[in-house]
């Protein structure tokens, strides 16, 4: 069968709206387009004229799945512009709330969005009919992450307690104890998750990627570090714009980001893991090894294991932070706005999230730039499909479609962010 057109209306189980167009002519792949048609929302434009203090609340609304990442990149960029340093327990609390977001977002993706691909279900609710305990574990794990965010941030989605300089209110040590109890359960459940995901079937698919992640001398990266790749990139966040550039392609509302002179790169759990294995906690390293992962993983389908490893790390790290916590004297440090430009980059669950702001003397924003993880991965997703689809050309269209969707979901793409996902069209001629 040479000539065929397949059209699927919506690529599901990703956040946001998008489509994939695949053209097959005479049994060879002639075109792949990942098209994001989530309507533009113009955040960078309307941030102009807003006060610096509003940036965490406003940019959170770019994405309901990872609002903490937006808030953290925004506060770090503003603090950079104003020459403010937030350290000690306030910095630790920022790591803690970030742990909550990783647990919540990764558990959602592993159990509800990605696992159904491996087990052959349309969604977690169908999967729950045959695997009730599994889905329950996923939901409760996700809830443990949400509880951290809700407690420290005021609520799960678009938390209200994060501000430039720290928090509006910080907890007393004893208030964190119930969270610690829950997290001990979650850490065990995360360990089970690593073991379970390692037993799934993975297509044989390894590519030579350029992985980009933050690297920090002492810790697995959340909020700070240098931007490093496995192919020689090593720059400070301030120099992001010198090395990365966004291209506007006609078929997508999301800009494509590339490394200048080199092209596509890969951000997210796999990139972090490959560049920071040594900084995972000992128990997490051990769990990764016993699950059969080595120091480096080049198969994007195995991202589900790596994501589970990161859930485990986040539970372990959260417990460490709570254990060493002492309430700081003040919930935030003093911030004095001034004219300047500030840069911030943090590790959203899906990968690096870059913010840059310029402000005037009063802290009013005069320019904003935001580069979300999904726009950085788009080109790599397309490249994967260019390599992946030819191996499966003989599959019936319906099966091929499922394979493509799974390959895209490896990246946990978040389309709402990238426009500031997915319909699949396979066109066989």
């Amino acid at each position: 069968m040479k000539n065929k057109t397949i059209k699927v209306d919506y690529l599901a189980r990703v956040e946001g709206e998008g489509a994939l167009y695949v053209k097959i002519k005479d049994n060879s792949l002639t075109d792949v387009k990942l098209k994001i048609f989530e309507p533009p929302r113009f955040f960078e434009a309307f941030l102009q004229g807003r006060n610096y203090s509003e940036a965490p609340d406003i940019t959170a609304r770019i994405c309901g799945i990872c609002p903490i990442a937006y808030q953290m990149s925004a506060v770090h960029a503003m603090e950079d512009a104003f020459g403010v340093t937030v350290d000690g327990q306030l910095r630790a609390l920022r790591r803690l709330i970030y742990c909550g977001e990783w647990i919540e977002s990764h558990a959602l993706h592993v159990y509800m969005l990605h696992a159904p691909d491996f087990l052959g279900y349309t969604d977690a609710i169908q999967m729950a009919k045959d695997h009730p305990a599994l889905v329950q574990r996923g939901l409760q794990l996700k809830k443990a992450g949400n509880e951290i965010v809700a407690f420290l941030g005021g609520r799960e989605i678009h938390p209200i307690n994060v501000r430039v300089g720290g928090f509006y209110k910080v907890p007393a040590k004893r208030e964190l104890e119930p969270l610690a109890e829950r997290l001990k359960w979650a850490r065990d459940a995360a360990l089970e998750t690593v073991r379970w995901t390692a037993t799934l079937d993975f297509p044989d698919f390894e590519q030579d990627y350029e992985f980009v992640a933050l690297c920090h001398p002492g810790e697995y990266p959340f909020n700070e570090g240098r931007l490093v790749s496995n192919k020689g990139l090593d720059i400070s966040v301030r120099d992001y714009d010198d090395s990365f550039v966004e291209e506007h392609v006609p078929y997508s509302n999301a800009l494509h980001s590339i490394i200048k002179g080199r092209g596509a790169y890969f951000v997210g759990p796999l990139a972090r893991y490959n560049l920071n294995f040594n900084r995972l906690s000992p128990m997490t390293q051990e769990a990764a090894h016993s699950a059969g992962l080595s120091y480096v993983c080049n198969n994007p389908f195995q991202s589900i294991i790596v994501r589970s490893v990161e859930i485990l790390y986040a539970c372990d790290e959260a417990l460490r932070i709570i254990d060493q916590y002492e309430r700081p004297d003040k919930p935030s440090v003093q911030v004095q706005p001034r004219a300047g430009t500030g840069y911030g980059c943090t590790e959203a669950p899906r990968g690096i999230l870059y913010h840059r702001y310029s402000t005037d003397d009063n802290g009013v924003i005069i320019d904003a730039k935001i580069v979300p993880p999904t726009s950085q991965n788009q080109k790599t997703i397309e490249n994967d499909l260019w390599q992946f689809i030819p191996k499966y050309l003989d599959l019936p269209s319906e099966k091929l479609t499922l394979q493509c969707e799974q390959a895209i979901r490896n990246y946990d793409p978040c389309i709402s962010c990238a426009t500031h996902f997915l319909k699949l069209y396979v066109n066989r001629e």
Partner: protein, 263 residues
């Protein structure tokens, strides 16, 4: 409705952050129970299965910002028995209405290198400005308790019990000392729809009205309070222009003060 048939639920998305529909998936303890009571017929964020309409209940998230979406909402209304909007985007146009006060073409050229590729309407609008809406659930994001209340109410054919009073009442109920009276922190709580359980004052900050206007808010009175607290006119305009900036009461109040600036 045939008693033996589970009602069909559909969840639709327009311009939004996915946070309101995520509220449903965030009902970790209730999700499987809800899934047992309804047929989740269309919910692309969570499922790749698509069951054909008509749908008994459609939840709509997000605002209308493109010609294509303006046509799509008409079709959705036709296949939905009951249509409920969830969140500030769907109910009032959302944070993306900040473009409504400006020239959208300028916005496009700020964000995109090749503006000609971008298709967008010059305004972001609520779902109700396009089609009849049966119920509007406010919040950015909506609250999951209220969402479950609305789901339950429509499944059993009664009116949802969502209070119309202000955040101040919730402050009183939870025993929070008023941050505006005690600390002089500007707070939009007096004009804001209840539902969040007055989180911000409990965390020592003023409400920024992510739940939008309550029924009949006295915005003018609040503005004079703000003036009294020394809030600059431009900051007052900004406070009203955020997640519900294009809702009628907030838009009018912000415009009144913007004009004052010019005089």
């Amino acid at each position: 409705m045939n008693k033996n048939r589970k009602p069909k639920l559909a969840v639709w998305k327009f311009a939004s952050c996915d946070g309101c529909q995520l509220s449903l998936l965030n009902c970790e303890d209730e999700l499987l129970t809800v899934a047992g009571k309804v047929e989740i017929a269309y919910f692309p964020e969570a499922s790749s299965a698509v069951v054909k309409g008509p749908y008994d209940l459609s939840l709509v998230e997000g605002s209308v910002t493109t010609q294509h979406d303006a046509a799509r909402i008409q079709k959705i209304r036709k296949v939905s028995k009951v249509l409920v909007t969830i969140g500030a985007c769907a109910t009032a146009g959302g944070i993306q209405t900040l473009r409504n006060f400006k020239n959208v073409n300028e916005f496009i050229s700020i964000v995109y290198a090749s503006p000609k590729y971008i298709e967008t309407l010059d305004k972001s609008t609520s779902i109700a400005s396009h089609v009849h809406v049966d119920f509007e659930l406010q919040g950015c994001p909506i609250n999951k308790r209220q969402l479950l209340e609305v789901l339950g109410a429509f499944l059993y054919g009664r009116k949802p019990n969502v209070p119309a009073y202000s955040v101040c009442i919730e402050c009183k109920r939870r025993g929070t000392v008023c941050v505006m009276v005690a600390q002089g922190i500007p707070c939009l709580g007096p004009v804001t729809h209840a539902g969040c359980n007055a989180i911000c004052p409990a965390y020592n900050r003023g409400c920024y009205s992510c739940y939008g206007p309550m029924e009949t808010p006295n915005t003018a009175s609040l503005s004079s309070w703000f003036a009294h607290l020394g809030v600059k006119e431009e900051n007052l305009v900004r406070s009203f222009r955020s997640f519900y900036g294009y809702s009628e009461p907030f838009r009018k109040e912000s415009e009144a003060h913007e004009n004052k600036d010019r005089r």
